[in-house]
């Protein structure tokens, strides 16, 4: 009796059927969840990128299931199953090297944000189609094949289908949790894909054993596929395209945290005073021309970058020796707290809240030793979302004099839940009377769509909202408080510029014309928890500007 005929007569053992479905589900979710992590250093992990990945994976699974049904019904399942498992395993092993190389080919240089956005969205879709869809399509074919193979007769179809779906889903569940919480942080991305690839190749071997195939051909084929995928997948990742050789930039550290790819980069720059300084920056994912923390050697200020605009805030605090409580939401490696502390000195009692504990670990290792010691009165809290802290964890803390919000995600946008009327109301509730909320908002014009939406929504909760453009950059400092409009510029006039703070920024900050006052948007146009089109506004902004 031919092996295929024998196995059909016996039926595929149910435990093995369940095990193979489990392996397929596990590998599928590892590939899907880690896909965004593989793409993130090139294209970011914005909501459009996630959408592209999930969409392509679902398309591939659907096509695979349909094609698998074709093969299952014509008695091809026995022969093609190990082939599909082995090939998909080999392709999965190759992904950590294949996807970055494709990304590098599509996007060989770093563009400014306004040019990059449309490319990032389309390129993430394309690379997902070419690098991730083929193995997932093969995995999608598993279920109909396993149901066919596991059903010795028509009476077992229901039970087998239930088993395949149940074990496949449990495998997917395990793949989901393990990828996020253990595999990527523990094994890194190549290690994660190696594990998934080996699980699939091991499954192919299991199928061969069940079929008792004695011929060497399939085994040799599997070994070759595994070795090829392993070798290709072990190649080094290309250097990030945004690394500026002109500024002698080099990567000091590269970490895949639970949330994102983190880079610590060191370069050199010449300051306003003509001195050449080393500068360290924290970059996240695709990086581009953005940074999430900056530390210059020998000064708490950041060479005129937008963090320096937060140096204006200490001038709004009551003079004297009293404690000034400062909350920095999205503190990253502490640039804003350093700048504010420079103005307040020992009076500053800071709390830094950061979602990604990996960022705080890098800050401890690379940013704090690089200059003055951190103030003893500053606490950093990791693994904590800004809104969770404000509305829950830190609710019983004494109110703050200053709250600084700088929570950009994937360079492009403020997460929707951190720019709503409800959140601004909660933030106002955490301020002392006379306290100030300061937000970093990116836009390209003083009346741009994103700035208008955020500032107009803030104005629905704060008596006075003013914005200040930081140089000719795309950053605006938006201030919400209960003082008279124009007071910020008035308070700064006649004061001495803090040593080391950018002269251009200081001069601009004293001019009344550099501030815009905002009226509250009508209720139906405010950003709220229920209706928030901030992401669309960002897309409109960046897509329009890319055309020049």
């Amino acid at each position: 009796m031919a092996p295929a005929e024998a196995s059909r007569a016996r039926g595929f053992p149910l435990p093995a059927t369940g095990l193979l479905a489990f392996a397929g589900g596990f590998a599928t979710m590892v590939v899907e969840l880690a896909a965004v992590r593989v793409l993130a250093p090139s294209f970011g992990d914005s909501i459009p990128v996630w959408t592209n990945v999930i969409g392509v994976i679902l398309l591939s699974l659907a096509l695979g299931a349909y094609a698998g049904g074709f093969l299952a019904d014509r008695g091809l399942a026995e022969r093609t199953l190990p082939l599909l498992l082995g090939l998909s395993g080999g392709l999965v092993l190759a992904i950590p090297a294949l996807a970055p190389r494709l990304a590098h080919w599509v996007l060989p240089e770093a563009f400014p944000l306004d040019r990059a956005y449309p490319v990032l969205v389309e390129a993430s879709l394309s690379v997902t189609l070419l690098a991730f869809a083929p193995p997932v399509l093969m995995l999608g074919a598993l279920s109909p094949m396993l149901i066919r193979l596991g059903s010795a007769d028509i009476l077992r179809v229901g039970r087998t289908a239930g088993l395949v779906y149940a074990t496949g889903t449990i495998g997917a569940l395990l793949g989901t949790f393990l990828t996020t919480y253990w595999l990527v942080p523990g094994l890194g991305l190549p290690g994660t894909y190696r594990l998934a690839g080996l699980v699939l190749i091991g499954s192919a071997v299991l199928v061969l054993l069940i079929h008792r195939r004695a011929d060497r051909g399939p085994v040799v084929g599997l070994v070759l596929v595994a070795a090829g995928g392993w070798l290709f997948g072990s190649a080094d990742e290309p250097a990030p395209v945004w690394l500026d050789e002109g500024a002698h930039e080099r990567v000091l550290a590269r970490v895949d945290s639970r949330y994102q790819r983190l880079w610590v980069v060191e370069g050199e720059e010449v300051g306003e005073d003509g001195r050449r300084r080393r500068v360290r920056s924290l970059r996240i994912n695709e990086g581009l021309d953005s940074f999430h923390s900056v530390k210059l050697e020998g000064t708490p200020y950041t060479g005129g970058r937008y963090y320096d605009s937060f140096a204006l805030l200490p001038f709004l605090c009551e003079p004297g020796d009293g404690e000034v409580r400062v909350l920095s939401l999205g503190c990253a490696a502490g640039s804003i707290l350093r700048v504010v502390h420079a103005g307040l000195g020992a009076r500053c009692h800071g709390v830094g809240v950061e979602l990604d504990p990996g960022v705080l670990a890098l800050a401890e290792e690379w940013f704090r030793p690089f200059g003055e010691p951190p103030p003893a009165t500053t606490r950093y809290l990791g693994d904590l979302g800004a809104r969770v802290y404000v509305q829950s964890v830190g609710r019983d803390e004494p109110p703050f004099d200053l709250i600084c919000l700088d929570t950009y995600r994937s360079q492009f946008y403020i997460p929707a839940h951190l720019a709503t009327r409800e959140f601004f109301r909660a933030l106002r509730g955490r301020l002392k009377p006379g306290g100030v909320l300061a937000i970093n908002v990116g836009d390209f014009s003083p009346r741009g769509p994103v700035l208008s939406a955020v500032a107009g929504t803030m104005a629905a909760e704060f008596p006075t909202v003013e914005s200040f453009r930081v140089g000719k950059q795309r950053n605006f400092l938006v201030l919400g408080h209960d003082r008279a409009p124009g007071e910020v510029a008035r308070v700064l006039r006649g004061r001495e510029r803090p040593a080391g703070l950018s002269r251009d920024l200081w001069d601009a900050a004293q001019r009344s014309g550099a501030y815009w006052t905002w009226e509250a948007l009508p209720d139906d146009r405010c950003l709220t928890d229920d209706h928030n089109d901030l992401l669309r506004l960002h897309e409109v902004l960046y897509s329009r500007l890319g055309r020049g």
Partner: protein, 169 residues
């Protein structure tokens, strides 16, 4: 002192006190009284541009279209504002016009510097469009691979149907 001179002097004083918003208001008022007052429009344009009020500047220059065409300084201000808003192709037209005008040398040099920078920006935009083209090519490749895989499954099934369920004919 004429009202125009008075307005200019007052605006300068206010600006020296960092009250640029009030300075602009004084100049706007002077411009309303005499739309052709020399020096007032360029001064106002300078203040608006310096304070990053590009939208207001472009609206103002739109109201004085003829003056802008005749005055290289205003044209340069408009080019700079357009550039700040990412409207490089429109800005380029102004920079080229200023450079080719009979404006004083420093003004033409400034226009040249902006023109060089704008050309770099436009080249970067072209590079981004090329990247977009590569992305689409890559996506098309992905779709072809997926279609090929589905086609292979269909061919296998067709071959099997011809050979019989066990593939033995």
């Amino acid at each position: 002192m004429t009202p125009r001179q008075d307005a200019l002097k007052r605006a300068l004083e206010l600006d020296a006190e960092h009250r640029s918003k009030e300075a602009c208001a004084v100049l706007r008022e002077a411009l309303e009284h005499d739309p052709h007052a020399p020096d007032v429009l360029p001064r106002l344009a300078y203040l608006l541009n310096r304070d990053g009020r590009e939208d207001e500047l472009l609206a103002l220059l739109g109201e004085h279209g003829r003056a802008v065409l005749e005055d290289p300084y205003l044209r340069l201000q408009r080019g700079e504002a357009l550039s700040s808003l990412g409207r490089h192709r429109e800005a380029r037209v102004d920079f080229v016009a200023v450079r080719a005008s009979g404006a004083p040398e420093p003004l033409r040099d400034r226009a040249q510097a902006f023109l060089d920078w704008t050309d770099q920006e436009l080249a970067s935009i072209d590079d981004a469009l090329a990247a977009l083209g590569r992305a689409r090519l890559c996506g098309a490749g992905g779709l072809v691979v997926l279609a090929g895989m589905c086609g292979a499954a269909w061919l296998l099934r067709r071959r099997q149907r011809l050979l019989g369920p066990d593939g033995e004919g």
